[in-house]
């Protein structure tokens, strides 16, 4: 299928890759870390968007699935020595002690395990709707966290895992992010994707159309958990340290925030807002330090950045209720239309 649109798409992807390569070679360590975080948040945002956005299931269990991915991939990439030095309270379970595989297969494994557990958790609770589903998924995510805190010989409990090799690079994060974006667009176009959206729009009608509600909701949950697991694995190997406390509700909230700000259900909106939110969270850090206004200096108040960020959030939600993009997408067509209008203005 070689048509004009595909060529433009390919061109855009190459352009993004070129920009990323340049950034990767010119930026400092700190900036690259933010770039990585942005890529990871794109994956996480899109994965939650399948469940909450496409299918309209209000899930708050994302941190749990990320934890599964993070722990699985970490335990698989660690060398024997790393494992020994981490598990000093209780030795690691023997069947894991000598396992070490590459980063990419480990990530994949983490994603698959998250998907399997996601499906198992989702199956009994998918009959629930709205707030009840939110509470149930939140509960499951907390259960996962508590289990991880207490399985000393498997996850090293509350001590967490330290000194992970930092495999995560811009190539991995953005490579996977771009693959995720492409996957999401093709899912949206497929009949499965349309069925998911039909469920979001109107369950009764969707069911009357012959769409199997349970099967499709389960599918959405499985896909969402898979990518959450991958994102979790990338995050673990970026931070170098993981512990159960990292996967509290706050992490789910951050991802949810990205999806809501971007426009629930919009792929391009989620991508843009993932980048903006990640950068903003870092950039606003100056508020926590001492601010010199010339005529007076304000002593730094730690946490001020979160206050301002929350305020910004409120403003966005009040004035643009459907988020940045609503349910629209930036496509080749809409871009073409945009530039055509631009050209007309110039003339």
């Amino acid at each position: 299928m070689i048509d004009k649109k595909n060529i433009i798409r390919l061109g855009l992807i190459l352009l993004v890759l070129a920009v990323l390569t340049i950034l990767n070679n010119t930026m400092g360590k700190y900036e690259i870390r933010i770039l990585n975080l942005a890529g990871i948040y794109i994956i996480l945002g899109l994965s939650l968007n399948v469940i909450n956005g496409f299918t309209g299931l209000f899930s708050l269990g994302h941190a749990g699935f990320m934890a599964i991915g993070a722990y699985t991939s970490s335990l698989l990439t660690m060398s024997v020595i790393q494992k020994e030095s981490n598990f000093f309270v209780e030795p690691i379970v023997p069947w894991l002690a000598n396992v070490q595989i590459g980063f990419l297969p480990a990530l994949l494994f983490g994603g698959i395990l998250a998907a399997v557990l996601g499906a198992m958790i989702a199956a009994p609770i998918l009959k629930l709707t709205d707030d009840y589903l939110a509470i149930a998924t939140l509960g499951f995510s907390e259960i996962i966290r508590v289990i991880f805190t207490n399985t000393q010989s498997l996850t090293n409990g509350a001590l967490g895992i330290k000194g992970l090799t930092r495999y995560t690079t811009v190539h991995y994060t953005w490579g996977i992010a771009i693959l995720t974006i492409l996957f999401m667009f093709s899912l949206r176009k497929s009949s499965y994707g349309k069925a998911l959206m039909a469920i979001r729009e109107d369950q009764t009608a969707a069911e009357a159309m012959g769409i199997n509600l349970f099967k499709h909701k389960l599918l959405a949950f499985t896909i969402g958990s898979f990518f959450a697991g991958i994102g979790g694995g990338l995050l673990a190997h970026l931070m170098g340290t993981i512990d159960p406390l990292m996967f509290r509700f706050l992490l789910t909230f951050n991802v949810l925030l990205i999806v809501v700000l971007g426009g629930i259900g919009s792929i391009s909106g989620t991508v843009i807002s993932a980048i903006v939110v990640t950068i903003m969270l870092e950039w606003l850090r100056f508020l926590d330090g001492v601010i010199d206004l010339g005529f007076m200096t304000i002593q730094g108040i730690p946490g001020l950045r979160m206050v301002l960020f929350s305020l910004l959030l409120m403003v966005v939600i009040i004035f643009k209720q459907n988020g940045l993009m609503g349910r629209d997408e930036i496509t080749i067509d809409s871009l073409g239309g945009f530039f055509a209008r631009f050209r007309k203005k110039e003339a």
């Binding site: 959206m197 039909a198 009608a205 009357a208 159309m209």
Partner: protein, 234 residues
Amino acid sequence: MISIHDLHVYYGGIHALRGVSLSVSKGQIVSLIGANGAGKSTTLRSIMTLEKPRSGQIIYKDKDITQTKTTELVKDGLILVPEGRHVFTNLTVEENLILGAYARKDAKAVNEDMQWVYELFPRLKERSRQRAGTMSGGEQQMLAVGRALMSAPELLLMDEPSLGLAPLIVRDIFNIIKKISERGVTILLIEQNAKVALEISDYAYVMETGNIVLEGRGKELLNDENVKKAYLGA
């Protein structure tokens, strides 16, 4: 085509259908009229197995379908146009129609049906890229009917196709129902607007509090004194 025998449905403690029996032969238009809460919608929803009856039998194409899944029924040519349209408001008209053919695999025939639906409702073709939610009530009802036709129905169940529509548009919708019937689709429809419904119906049933209280040919019921008083406002 379909026959229902002594169907009982409960909503919690409420006895909604108290032994309903009716039958529809192939190619007919049959209507089910009656006041609010008489159990008309429940009857249709039970046929689609969206409600689980406590007792009774539903025979469709010589098979008992009481335990069959909705998904399977749609594949077997049974489809419901739900009350209040229920179009997918944030999806485009075309996406709505494609979803109607969700249970079908024959892409070519689906495409032909899409052309037929567009012929039947030229309005939908004009608005194929528009979001369903931005259309008028009448257009949405047309879309709901069109979407149902996309599933290649043999028996079309319609729940109040005229609900909330202007009289002129009601005429349009009923003319189209006739056209659909002429194509060989059997139709069972619920209607509050008894007069229009009885005019086009081959046969009709009148429901009251979960029971069928009267039945007969459409034209006969139109002249029935009791029906006139209760439903035609004469």
